[in-house]
């Protein structure tokens, strides 16, 4: 076969390469640059090699923050995904209720993150907050500033309030795209409500659920603004997640080298987990060769 080779086509991708270089590659490389050097200001740099990485991986501070991140992500995924599916299943499929529900569900997503944090910070305050004061008046010993579990509960409830709608909207989109014939066939086959969910709705929602889980995992794993505003990482370090710790290190302590090393490790962890999620959740697709979606 005679193929004409024309390398001029490479110029077509040049704009994208330039764009990606400036938006991602070059900033990322500066971080790489910091991570292998030490600096004391005055633009003086000393080669540090892998020292920062070794120091990071040997520090309890890092592993504890990572552990908190993982626990937080697991908890909110375990709550938000089933809750989101449940709400989506019970949302109206037609009529006036649809736009109402959609707008209602979108509201938390439209609020800026630091405002979400502020809302809950005030909401939970024992002296003036609606929630905090009410609980306090009822004799419940609730105080997110001093009590570790209260702080965690507040952050988790806040995240559920903020982000469950995203799961709901994605699942709802998946659900309404299922043709009526499936439900009619299920009726004829005498399927129970559970079977309809298990064999029709869940498989048809799989793709959107995958996106929902990925987005929610990545976002929750990178959570910064809301806990920073509500608890500031406290009480003690009990709600100090990797992102909060990273900012403390980089801006608070101006330890640019360790912070850069931590950024890279943080990035690789998210990449790794996302890849694992994606692989696990799509692993059953390829069995029959070509996909049967129409």
């Amino acid at each position: 076969m005679n193929k004409t080779w024309n390398n001029k086509a490479w110029f077509m991708v040049l704009p994208v390469l330039v764009l990606v270089a400036f938006s991602a590659v070059i900033p990322l490389m500066t971080v790489v640059n910091y991570s292998v050097q030490d600096t004391f200001g005055n633009n003086q740099f000393f080669w540090a090699g892998t020292d920062w990485f070794i120091e990071l991986l040997e520090s309890d501070r890092f592993w504890e923050a990572l552990g908190r991140n993982l626990i937080f992500s697991v908890i909110i995924l375990l709550i938000e995904v089933p809750l989101g599916i449940f709400i989506a299943l019970n949302m109206p499929k037609k009529g006036l209720g649809v736009p109402f529900c959609l707008v209602f569900m979108s509201l938390p997503l439209l609020i800026p993150w630091n405002v979400v944090g502020t809302i809950w910070q005030v909401f939970g305050r024992v002296d003036i907050g609606l929630l905090g004061y009410t609980l306090f008046s009822m004799g419940v010993d609730y105080n997110y500033v001093s009590n570790v579990s209260d702080a965690w509960i507040t952050l988790i409830v806040m995240d559920i309030w903020h982000w469950t709608s995203l799961v709901v909207l994605l699942c709802y989109a998946g659900l309404v795209s299922i043709p009526d014939a499936y439900f009619q066939a299920a009726k004829i086959d005498g399927a129970s409500r559970w079977s309809v969910f298990r064999y029709i709705q869940l498989p048809k929602m799989k793709r959107v659920l995958l996106i929902a889980v990925l987005l929610r995992f990545m976002d929750s794993f990178m959570i910064y603004t809301e806990p920073f505003v509500v608890t500031g990482g406290g009480p003690g370090n009990s709600t100090t997640f990797l992102s909060i710790d990273l900012v403390k290190m980089a801006i608070g302590q101006f330890d640019l080298g360790p912070a850069a090393a931590m950024s890279l490790v943080y990035f690789l962890i998210i990449l790794l987990f996302s890849w694992v999620f994606y692989t696990v959740m799509t692993s059953h697709d390829g069995e029959t060769g070509k996909g049967g979606e129409q």
Partner: protein, 356 residues
Amino acid sequence: MAEITFDGIRHSYYPDPQKPEDFALREINHTFEDGGAYALLGPSGCGKTTLLNIISGLLHPSHGRLLFGSTDVTDLSTQERNIAQVFQFPVVYDTMSVYDNLAFPLRNRNVPKDAVDAKVKETLEMIGLSEGAHRKAQGLTADQKQKISLGRGLVRSDVNAILFDEPLTVIDPHMKWELRSQLKKLHRRFGYTMIYVTHDQTEALTFADQVVVMYEGQVVQIGTPAELFERPMHTFVGYFIGSPGMNLLPVRTEGRTARIGDQSVELPGAAPDLQGCRIDLGVRPEFTRISTTGLPVQIRKVEDVGRYKIVRAVLEGQEIAALAGEDEALPADPHVQFDPAGINLYADSWRVDLGA
């Protein structure tokens, strides 16, 4: 299995229907015989699917009763009616294997495991999917998926009828023939009552013993393919069945004579008094010949379709179509003749019986 009787069934999607136009399905009184192969034929939106969904119980008719044998099933659920339905787009449970797909309706009805296995294997044999029964249903082709849809109906031994809602729409043309002949075979072998919805006349005429032609929510004619062709009871049947459709010419009648403009045609019998009606003369192209005598026409176009030619002509300002033999020469001074055996008269679209 049982015969299916429509007793004054009507359906409207409006809460308080008044006019006949408010009804998606106008009154039907008809019995589908046990073991018959029926086709519901009509254009999109004519009420075919509404009628089908009333039989399967997916839709509750707003008026009238539905009987299976002598049992009133109007208020029974879909599941209780024991109906199988194959939809336009193949419905398979993606995550299940072919085998599990077929077993699903039985398992839902708590059939014992051994009986499920025996029945599923028998059905797999019937629809020709015994090989690869344990493959996932997801990766199959459209026609195989449609076979699974059908199989899920066949697997229940007590189905009252199998309903098809344009089942071949997404199937490749060469597979359509195979599937259709397989359906016919199943019908002959097992004698299921089959009701087949389609807008494709070829599909309807080749599949069914009896074709139910629907138009604007109304059943306009029920008959064998031959009856529909020879004696269309409604102008829509004449137009919809046959290719090209029936020639319809507005006429005035005087006894045995129909006048088209200045020309007149001898009717095979005397027309009754049809004062105030719109009267049409209907003759199929198959009964229309171009010759040297008869009514003068102008030929517009000749379409050669292989074994015969379709002659498009104009008679008194009205377009008509006639068939001519492959090698037939058309006269320089063309006239048209209607075979008396193929002449029908329609008053307000409905066929009129001509007297002696």
